[in-house]
Symmetry: C2
Subunit: 349 residues, 2 copies
């Protein structure tokens, strides 16, 4: 996949040379960035605000497969995955650090692709790259991103603030990233069996993009502010709706009723899941990687939100003793179980 | 190395179970930690101060060799390496995030050892663990630490503030970590050739500890404050004295004279280097991993510092056009060249 652009061995640059080369086009767009790359530590100024920090590790063979993941997309996704955690606090993301471990199979041109994706994501979301580390790796590609942001104390949304009667809401639609992954895996396997068959992803752009190039929901955080809604709790959906709902219920010490018919699923997700013989609801509940926001709001905020096409009300919070329940389309009650992506096994459980 | 403590497979716990298990004993000791582990992001409060952020990646086979690195030491070192960057800004380190990638060869007991080292380092240095990520890895052990701290704006020491005539100072002694590594590598090779021969590290505790269990120089930052000295520039020595001096010279646009006879080298480092047929000065200049602080001070601060047993004055800054020079014991002038540890090659150049 790196053949067309020439091949410059990274050793020729050395570590400092590589960092200089990759970061020379990174500008600074946030007033809070006092000093970015180039010293022992970045210096940030969040005077009067709370600082938010989150970090994620992305490993080749576990979190991504370079057989079907373009490096530019991967860089973009690595940033989005991390920003999503800052937005899930109802915060403003402003900086990231990026550490990369590289095996010798990657020429400079490949890493430039990766950094181009990082750069595009940062530009689009107004993020400054303020530090990082590069290292050789005996172990394929390793990406560790730490995201940094801020919020006024009164605006921060934790997972533990949901109250009985609160409405359970979710942005966008769910399950697409998971079913997109199934599609990519299928086409990879067909290709491995017969390299003459080209991948058939026609008409599947949306779900493939959901997997390869997710968008964190900065826009939802901004919309909520405009609507003057402060969620009582919030979390981003990285491990699947079921797992995230249980986090909110557990930390808020509440139960919930989730209505299957209310879960937003895109028609392409729905149809492709059916093609694969998978229940679309299961994709939404357990698939993960959608990076949508799950949050609870007071009932009194219902009027403000009810006509927003990008937010679905999917249930409500109950007392803890009532449990966490999924009400199926046939009105059966099932306890919600976390069967999210377990990255420690690297397989869907 | 993990045989004696039983073997619990990590899969049994799952990701959330593992995080809960490993972090249950981490307390909070800093007022600036508003919310540590358990939400999408940590929440920190540095009101009125600047926030400092630094990050490092440690990879098995590149940065450490588990053949002779106890996991407890490795956890301790991973923390120290990162704190060192915050101290090098003349800041106070307060929090870290720790992300770990684990292959299935590690049972829970091994990771508990690693976290015990992390925990001991955090307790000793007053650091809160406020987040992280755990993942399976197909690729050995991966450790990514981000350190967070703060400083008053007026106290921050960048690399670019050195002036002509400033005194060049270094804490502690140099070269020990490098020669300790040579010793460990030698004993490993002897063991591999003949497993009946036990490692002979007797009387070499100091240099072995310099390699396996370095201490970041929080104490020096505190001493400088007590002495009312603000360095004009500062950097920590991770890649070797030569490389770090060149960073200061380049970023400050100055030259320097470094006096070989003034470079602090411990007698054990000196003698062991001679045993290996290596010039002890080269160990200090190019060895790296000492995590001492290199800094410049105004000449008017000389009286305050001259009797401090833990700080050596090793040279002075000159105008840029004079170049960066090492004055040897025989009073020959050599231009200083960076030949530091190049982790992109994983070998000493």
């Amino acid at each position: 996949m790196f053949e067309n652009k020439g091949r410059t061995e990274i050793e020729q640059l050395g570590e400092f040379g590589l960092i200089d080369h990759l970061t020379k086009n990174f500008g600074i767009s946030n007033k809070s960035t006092v000093k970015a790359i180039g010293d022992d530590a970045a210096v940030l100024n969040f005077e009067g605000k709370k600082t938010l920090i989150s970090t994620d590790l992305l490993l080749e063979g576990i979190h991504f497969d370079l057989a079907y993941t373009p490096l530019k997309h991967l860089g973009y996704k690595a940033v989005q995955v991390n920003l999503s955690d800052i937005y899930a606090m109802n915060g403003t993301a402003t900086q990231i650090t990026v550490s990369i471990g590289l095996s010798s199979k990657f020429p400079l041109e490949a890493i430039e692709e990766l950094y181009e994706g990082i750069s595009i994501a940062c530009e689009k979301y107004g993020i400054d790259v303020v530090g990082g580390d590069t290292s050789s790796s005996k172990q394929g590609l390793i990406i560790s991103v730490t995201s940094i942001g801020y919020a006024d104390e009164k605006d921060i949304c934790y997972r533990n603030g949901a109250n009985e009667g609160d409405l359970l809401c979710v942005s966008g639609d769910l399950g697409g990233a998971y079913i997109g992954l199934q599609l990519l895996e299928r086409e990879k396997n067909i290709f491995l069996e017969n390299p003459n068959i080209q991948p058939d992803l026609e008409g599947k752009d949306y779900i493939v993009e959901r997997q390869l190039k997710p968008e964190s929901r900065k826009d939802i955080v901004e919309s909520l502010k405009l609507m003057k809604i402060k969620p009582t709790s919030m979390i981003d959906i990285s491990d699947g709706l079921a797992s995230e709902i249980l986090h909110i219920c557990k930390q808020s010490n509440k139960g919930c009723n989730l209505y299957e018919e209310k879960i937003p699923i895109d028609p392409m997700t729905y149809d492709t899941a059916r093609e694969f013989g998978i229940d679309p609801t299961v994709c939404a509940l357990n698939g993960g990687e959608d990076y949508e926001l799950l949050f609870t709001i007071k009932q009194s905020d219902f009027e403000k939100i009810k006509n927003n096409p990008d937010i679905s009300i999917i249930g409500h919070m109950t007392e803890a003793s009532a449990g966490c329940n999924l009400i199926s389309k046939s009105e059966k009650v099932h306890p919600i179980k976390a069967q999210g992506w377990n990255s420690l096994k690297g397989i869907q459980e």
